[in-house]
Symmetry: C2
């Protein structure tokens, strides 16, 4: 692309650095900003700048937070006996958005992946052990990706917690609600047959949702 304005070119260049944004899309974004009022663009850049400079990571659960300890960890209404272990903050947002979970979280900051050189020392596992031990947590709900790395991480963490009296569970896996049986992968289908539920149970869950 050839631009007649360096200001436009620089802005397009910066937008192209974001994931999934090619130069055409970047140009569309820049031209949209150009159509917006100056104070609206100031609000836009201001919000991004404030976010990057002031957002913190919760000292307890490693979730993003505006304060040293996040609003979930300080909320007295949350069930302190349960900790849901997730890979990243996107997963916290996804689970919070269901409004069905009232316990605490622990963000690992990744998943064990020897091929990518990610070992236990790169993840927030030691702080998880400390938390469970200090607070005598009753249940760790492992909500990790349903793949080999996720399963390996669940297995590793379960072993690390052996000295503690904490129950370890994982989120249910199976055919998604509204999913087509024939399009499910073999692993999911095999698991959902192996872990089948009695029909009374199924009806109860089904009516709840």
């Amino acid at each position: 692309m050839i631009f007649s304005s360096k200001l436009i070119e620089d802005a397009v260049q910066e937008f192209s650095k974001l994931p999934g944004i090619g130069r055409r899309t970047a140009l569309r974004m820049v031209l949209q900003l150009l159509r917006m009022e100056e104070n609206e663009v100031d609000e836009f850049t201001g919000a991004l700048s404030r976010m990057r400079h002031h957002v913190k990571f919760c000292k307890t659960c490693h979730n993003v937070s505006d304060t040293d300890v996040c609003v979930i960890c300080v909320n007295p209404g949350r069930n302190r006996n349960q900790i849901c272990v997730v890979e990243n903050i996107r997963d916290v947002i996804a689970i919070e958005s269901t409004q069905q979970y009232s316990g605490l979280y622990h963000v690992l900051g990744g998943i064990l992946s020897p091929l990518d050189g990610i070992g236990p020392e790169h993840l927030n596992i030691a702080t998880l052990h400390d938390r469970v031990k200090t607070n005598a947590t009753e249940e760790l709900i492992m909500a990790l990706s349903p793949n080999i790395e996720g399963d390996t991480t669940v297995y590793y963490i379960a072993r690390q917690m052996q000295d503690l009296k904490v129950q370890i569970t994982t989120i249910a896996r199976g055919i998604a609600f509204g999913g087509e049986l024939e399009y499910a992968d073999e692993m999911t289908l095999a698991r959902s047959i192996a872990k089948r539920l009695p029909v009374e149970n199924y009806v109860a869950i089904h009516n709840k949702s």
Copy 2:
């Protein structure tokens, strides 16, 4: 979506204002900015802010510019006898990027569209007439969208220029290079048959590209 950080929420909210950016995509962008170094994010927001506050519109051709008159209009190497009339600045970038056109431009800032309430008074047509008259421009190349509004605009401008000795041409329309005949719309196919070229000419154009 439920966020545990107002800073993240505000940033996602701002990103969602851009065209084609839903909340999930906005979150992905924000988390990418969070992974970037603080000074990189400052460069990002700085470039967007500078662009919005300092970009100008060329007094001659209405294209975006860093100066009062754009680099194309002041370039002595450009052919001042030709003016290519386009709808918006995206079209200037597209034509410049072909590196095949060496004349000047005139950005209309839209296209005649009675249904959307866009009349001649909303477009940069009066300044085009002044330019052609003052500079005794030889050719106006109409590079507008190939649809009813584009054709109407071409016709309107041609009438406005009747008192001037300027030749008015439009860009060629037909089956796109590499396009499949069977997928072309009827209008394009009909036109490309009506405006067929002798084979010698076709070979010459074909070899040139």
